[in-house]
Subunit: 218 residues, 2 copies
């Protein structure tokens, strides 16, 4: 955890308006839900997914980078990912194992019509929604290891939704349901403090110099 004196010092570099915004956003932030994306090929999809996560209050996004590892680093646009925690994994198996260890139910999104709809997914446990690549859909690993299969009903000729669109539909609907439920989905006071400190640092230009100056003055 951050030195409280340093944090107090750093706060003086951030406007009151912005600090107020942090409180509002933290109020709605959750780690009860998370998103896992298997290899994402198109840049605008990866950045759109992170943007949707931020918009619907999801703090953590997990990216599996089996094949395009050099791509993603370069390609994720600056912006919303500054305010979310991006976790990188080298395989779907490892990612799922890690999330299950943290108590998440693994929900794989598919186009199979026998899968559950969003309304039918139980929300009494933390949920990790796993999305596949645009071209191939979810990997066998993800499908085999999932606790639940989810699909979004479609009634046209087109057989799949753009992945960033599918993520947004799921997050929009599930967060709405969660917010009106009795589940304990909000961040703890401690989690909020850590994230708030991170956001403060990310809001300050020349943060390294400012921290160094503070430490010299001690």
């Amino acid at each position: 955890m951050e030195d409280p004196k340093l944090l107090n010092y750093l706060e003086t570099f951030v406007s009151a308006k912005r600090l107020q915004r942090f409180e509002e956003v933290l109020h709605w932030r959750t780690r009860y839900l998370t998103v896992v994306m298997e290899d994402v090929y198109h840049q605008h999809n990866a950045s759109a997914v992170i943007r949707s996560a931020d918009i619907f209050g999801i703090q953590d996004v997990h990216l599996v980078e089996d094949r395009f590892s050099d791509r993603l680093d370069k390609k994720i646009a600056l912006g919303a990912q500054k305010w979310t925690n991006i976790h990188k994994h080298s395989s779907t198996e490892e990612c799922i194992k890690s999330l299950r260890g943290q108590g998440f139910s693994i929900i794989a999104t598919t186009s199979k019509p026998e899968a559950k709809t969003i309304e039918q997914i139980p929300i009494d446990q933390k949920m990790a929604f796993v999305f596949g690549t645009e071209k191939e859909g979810l990997s066998e690993d993800a499908l085999a290891k999932a606790d639940e299969l989810l699909h979004i009903p479609m009634v046209g000729f087109t057989e799949s939704l753009n992945v960033s669109v599918a993520v947004a539909i799921v997050l929009h609907q599930i967060t709405k349901k969660l917010h009106s439920s009795g589940q304990n989905w909000q961040l703890s006071k401690e989690e909020k403090a850590v994230i708030r400190a991170d956001w403060i640092k990310k809001s300050i230009k020349n943060i390294d110099k400012i921290v160094a100056r503070f430490q010299e003055g001690m």
Copy 2:
């Protein structure tokens, strides 16, 4: 309306499986809802919106092309728009006037939090959802002339959803509500027949030659 003999002849060029698919898709098609997009700058957004319209069963998409008229023609990707009717308009004003004349309630999407949420929008009248450009949002014309203002609640730092994502969220939720309502949202028998004939023609390669051959044989 199509010559029934020609139509019977053309049907012989389309597989039974495909004709069956047409019936399934027509069952869910609606003209009770439509989407209007003001100047859409990015190609992938325009094609993603048309794709979402197809996926959620919306037959008509309206595009207003004040400024980028040469862009859109070239830029809309082949695919889903084959199965939807794309209507082009030279101004938002003209488009809204025309839709209102057809009995549509005009619903403008905005980021204003005082606007209604999707659940609060009445569905007892045909609905046209108007979406603005990514950069500037809706035009003053659209906002001033709307019957209802709609917004999607957002709780993060990012202040706007990608337009194609916003369209998909709205269509997903409103079609779900409509399908479980008592509204008469389905196409009439006559409308289905016209659209079916159009799809049959679009499914046949060298349609012009085949129609010519039929007409010579008469």
